[in-house]
Symmetry: C2
Subunit: 156 residues, 2 copies
């Protein structure tokens, strides 16, 4: 199967938002997705983009070769006062029916390439403590795991 | 005592880096600070700033009223695919001898004001699970605490 990894463009946003909601459901927080399509597009492709992404896609022969997006990865630039500019991997997701076909690996490898190109000092992200398949995937990259920090938030 | 909260400027960077190292020591990770002054300045005040900050300062009468910086808060813009643009509070620190004088509160209130002005949907940050004084401080703001996520990272 032919899989293409390419940079996300504005036209991908509706599909990406679908996948974001699929991931939130898996993470048991479907109601937490309150971002709108308009805000999502503007934040990625407006005057001052704050996120960047890659999609994993393939042509669908039963739809005349029309491209289908099966997964994506989205990052923003984190500024660490310890390590400088780092890639913060906000989401990486592959649809359920396409798991086990190395799409996650292709996306993650592309992220590493991008992090090197942009001279980030590393990639950081978070994983839910019970998400074993994801943890096992990240272990292949010799990721460090640090459970000592608690996430805090307030709305304003 | 007169405390001024003002926006951080490039000239503050050497002092801010001192405070960052003080905080890292308190967080038991002094060797983790590998960012250079040059990179730190460039990231905050170069062509494409990726962080913004506020300092808490007061005039020192024994030094002819020269301004002294006792604390600061530094944030960057986080892009949440659930909540949109949020303020990520990377560091908030007050020097040991100035604790208990409400500098932390003044800085945090200023951050909330900034978050509202910039139309962020909220403020997010992390706290070490054993850092009780900080946790108690954040509780005053009715912060949500979510310990279910594990921090992951790789260097590239």
């Amino acid at each position: 199967m032919e899989i293409n990894i390419r940079r996300a463009v504005k036209e991908d946003c509706p599909r990406l938002l679908e996948l974001i909601k699929e991931l939130a459901l898996y993470e048991k927080a479907p109601d937490e997705v309150t971002v709108t399509l308009e805000h999502f597009e503007e934040s990625g492709f407006g005057k001052n983009p704050v996120w960047w992404g890659f999609v994993a896609a393939s042509p669908n022969p039963s739809k005349g070769g029309e491209e289908e997006i099966h997964g994506f990865a989205l990052y923003y630039i984190r500024y660490s006062t310890w390590k400088g500019r780092r890639m913060y991997l906000e989401d990486i997701i592959v649809t359920e029916q396409m798991r086990g076909k190395k799409l996650g690996k292709l996306l993650f490898d592309r992220l590493i390439e991008e992090a090197k190109e942009k001279k980030f000092t590393g990639i950081v992200w978070q994983v839910l403590e019970w998400n074993e398949p994801a943890i096992n995937f990240y272990k292949k990259y010799n990721a460090s795991f640090d459970p000592e920090w608690i996430n805090c938030s307030i709305s304003v």
